[in-house]
């Protein structure tokens, strides 16, 4: 029964939501609206579990002075600092609490998270350039096609390309709209068919790995 009941719940829930998609009647929609509100609450509760998990995992590493343990302390402290200034200060009615303009939460977001994330993303430009230098070697016919297309799109999508040749943007749009789109659509259809077959296997209980084991 430990397996049959979850499979039955999964089957009923899955089939119901499929039917809801194809029968958009107001009465059915209102019933499923309640289900979706439940789903939002369950997802929100997952945050609490996630918080407990982060604390548990990092606590063990810190206790054993495992790899990078000083960073784990910073992580846990930062986590609780943001929760304190964002939620607890707000509940206590402290003026700099919450997430409104002028709050500590906002200040940390704009002055720590924002530049840190922007820096990480900015580094991509350097690594992509280095990777392009090494990867686009014309070793085979397929590699030459890839390199030539990449160069055409790369130059055609910036203003200097248009300066070099007025029809460069049109050529780039053609590449994006015809060969690229055909390939992409083929991948999407293939992936969708795969997703449908996996979903049917899960609903009918043939695929049970999500229950753990087997």
């Amino acid at each position: 029964m430990r397996r049959e009941i979850p499979i039955a719940i999964c089957f009923l829930a899955g089939i119901s939501f499929i039917l809801e998609y194809f029968i958009p009647h107001q009465r059915i929609l209102s019933v499923f609206e309640t289900f979706r509100q439940w789903a939002i609450i369950v997802i929100a509760f997952a945050y609490v579990l996630g918080l407990a998990n982060i604390v548990r995992v990092n606590y063990h590493v810190i206790q054993k002075k495992g790899r990078d343990w000083p960073y784990k302390i910073i992580l846990v402290l930062s986590l609780f600092f943001m929760i304190t200034v964002g939620i607890i200060f707000d509940i206590l009615g402290i003026r700099s609490g919450g997430i409104a303009e002028g709050s500590i939460f906002n200040w940390v977001y704009y002055n720590a998270q924002y530049p840190l994330q922007a820096t990480m993303f900015a580094l991509l430009a350097f690594f992509i350039a280095s990777a392009a230098f090494r990867a686009f070697r014309i070793r085979t016919f397929q590699a030459s096609l890839l390199a030539v297309t990449a160069i055409l799109v790369m130059i055609g999508r910036v203003p200097v390309g248009e300066r070099l040749w007025g029809s460069f943007p049109d050529l780039t749009e053609w590449i994006m709209n015809v060969p690229q789109l055909a390939g992409k659509r083929a991948i999407m259809i293939g992936a969708a068919l795969g997703a449908i077959s996996t979903a049917l296997k899960v609903l009918t209980g043939l695929e049970r790995t999500y229950l753990g084991g087997e």
């Binding site: 939002i40 994330q117 350039a129 392009a132 230098f133 070697r137 014309i138 910036v158 200097v160 789109l181």
Partner: protein, 278 residues
């Protein structure tokens, strides 16, 4: 040539840094044309009658900000200039403050626009696709209050807004998942709404099939898409300023690919000749 083939990546880094920094400091403002996916999104907004409500979902983070923030600002500016009502939501927790920042920048040009009447930020809601679908049947139930704690039913802009039928156009500023793909699959295909997308350059190819099928009314791809939109709304911003840097850096990458291949074929030829002479 062997040395050139195995060029130290730090040299590449220096050239990339200079190719970005110099044009930013000394811009030449190269002109460019507007591509059809950007023009069609602009036209879709132009066709809306004044007072129509537009929902903008700002689903991105500071990591993708250089590409997405300028288009977020440009779209808000366009909506405000056309006297349309802006309802913004976020399915990424990091998007809330960025949407506020983008709107604050736009409101400098429109000091008369009022919060709650001309625009509203309903804030972040966890639940990804569930939230998208849930809004289709009941927006006030999904977002009972805005990001400032006001009851949605008390806001003038939200009067008469119950389902997606009450929204004239949707725009998703997409930094990843959940993003444009989910908006198309869960909202556009189900409720047949008018949806536009602004996304990073790297994810733009994924959404071209949706533009061709008509599921997206337009697509702003990366910083170039944002720059084109800034040009259309005649409000130059950071995307247009970044175009020179992007031009030069792309040329530098192209030159490195060329150098790498010249070195590769020279070394390969030299090895062949050495083998033949033995």
């Amino acid at each position: 040539m062997e040395k050139l083939e195995r060029l130290d990546r730090r040299i590449i880094f220096i050239f990339i840094f200079l190719s970005i920094a110099i044009p930013l400091l000394l811009p030449v403002n190269l002109d460019f044309s507007v591509t059809p996916p950007v023009q069609s999104f602009y036209d879709a907004i132009e066709e809306l009658p004044a007072g129509s409500k537009v929902l903008v979902s700002c689903d991105y983070d500071p990591g993708s900000m250089p590409e997405l923030f300028p288009m977020n600002v440009a779209v808000f500016y366009h909506l405000m200039s056309r006297d349309l009502k802006v309802i913004t939501i976020q399915l990424w927790a990091t998007g809330t403050l960025l949407a506020e920042l983008a709107m604050a920048e736009v409101l400098e040009d429109f000091p008369d626009k009022e919060y709650g009447k001309d625009w509203v930020n309903l804030g972040f809601k966890e639940g990804r696709e569930v939230v998208m679908v849930s809004m289709g049947t009941n927006i006030p139930k999904t977002f009972p209050s805005d990001s400032r704690g006001n009851k949605v039913e008390d806001l003038p802009i939200m009067q008469g807004v119950n389902t997606y039928d009450d929204i004239a156009l949707f725009m998703n500023v997409s930094g990843g998942l959940p993003g444009t793909k989910e908006w198309v699959l869960q909202v556009q295909s189900r409720y047949h709404v008018k949806l536009g997308s602004g996304c990073t350059a790297v994810s733009a190819p994924e959404f071209y099939p949706y533009v061709q099928s008509g599921q997206l009314v337009g697509l702003l791809g990366g910083m170039k898409g944002a720059a084109e939109y800034e040009k259309l709304v005649q409000r130059p911003g950071t995307a247009q300023r970044g175009m020179d840097a992007q031009s030069v850096s792309h040329i530098v990458v192209f030159l490195f690919i060329l150098i790498g291949n010249i070195a590769y074929f020279s070394v390969k030829g030299a090895k062949k000749r050495l083998k033949a002479s033995r």
